[in-house]
Amino acid sequence: AAGVIQSPRHLIKEKRETATLKCYPIPRHDTVYWYQQGPGQDPQFLISFYEKMQSDKGSIPDRFSAQQFSDYHSELNMSSLELGDSALYFCASSLGDIIRDETQYFGPGTRLLVL
């Protein structure tokens, strides 16, 4: 079965640079979530999109922005990168129109290292 695809899988950036993370949800899934997991920590919710509209926002810095496109893929844009942004970034997708089956399936994550 098709899974969530994230690219790139690894990314190394310098401080103050910009990074773009991409997420391709499972086919027919219309809801995308972004999570950030620091070393030794639990995943923290950043932002989500349902049918190409932002549906919820968590502890996402103002330096970060995201959007969901017409094909349902999503991009997380991160600017003015800081050392503390080094983390594993997960994208998850779900099928939002079946209320009782909204299990979130996670991609493999993008490991971002800011030097």
Partner: protein
């Protein structure tokens, strides 16, 4: 706001034995979803099992089963016949049932499970 608590940071179990991982949560909602996710050293987040709060029957998936106590707000995971491949971090997670807004997962801090040969 919902909170999820996993008070045991680490556990160890002998291969082929049974282990139970604890999780408690706090919510004012009457209907919600609870999940256990497994994160092996590869750091992939893998769904282990899901429980819907309105269902009284405990969920089971092969060697994995849960003990869901709604009144006590407890959601423990039992792993039977532990295998070396079960070595991983296990996260308990809570989800509001609404579509769109407020459907994010809230995770506990996780528990590191080591299976000894």
């Amino acid at each position: 706001a919902q909170t999820v608590t996993q008070s045991q940071p680490e556990m160890s179990v002998q291969e082929a034995e049974t282990v139970t991982l604890s999780c408690t949560y706090d919510t004012s909602e009457s209907n919600y979803y609870l999940f256990w996710y497994k994160q092996p050293p590869s750091r992939q987040m893998i769904l282990v099992i899901r429980q819907e709060a309105y269902k009284q029957q405990n969920a089971t998936e092969n060697r994995f089963s849960v003990n869901f106590q709604k009144a006590a707000k407890s959601f423990s995971l039992k792993i039977s016949d532990s295998q070396l491949g079960d070595t991983a971090m296990y996260f308990c997670a809570f989800r509001n049932p609404d579509t769109g807004a407020n459907s994010k997962l809230t995770f506990g801090k996780g528990i590191t499970l080591s299976v000894r040969p």
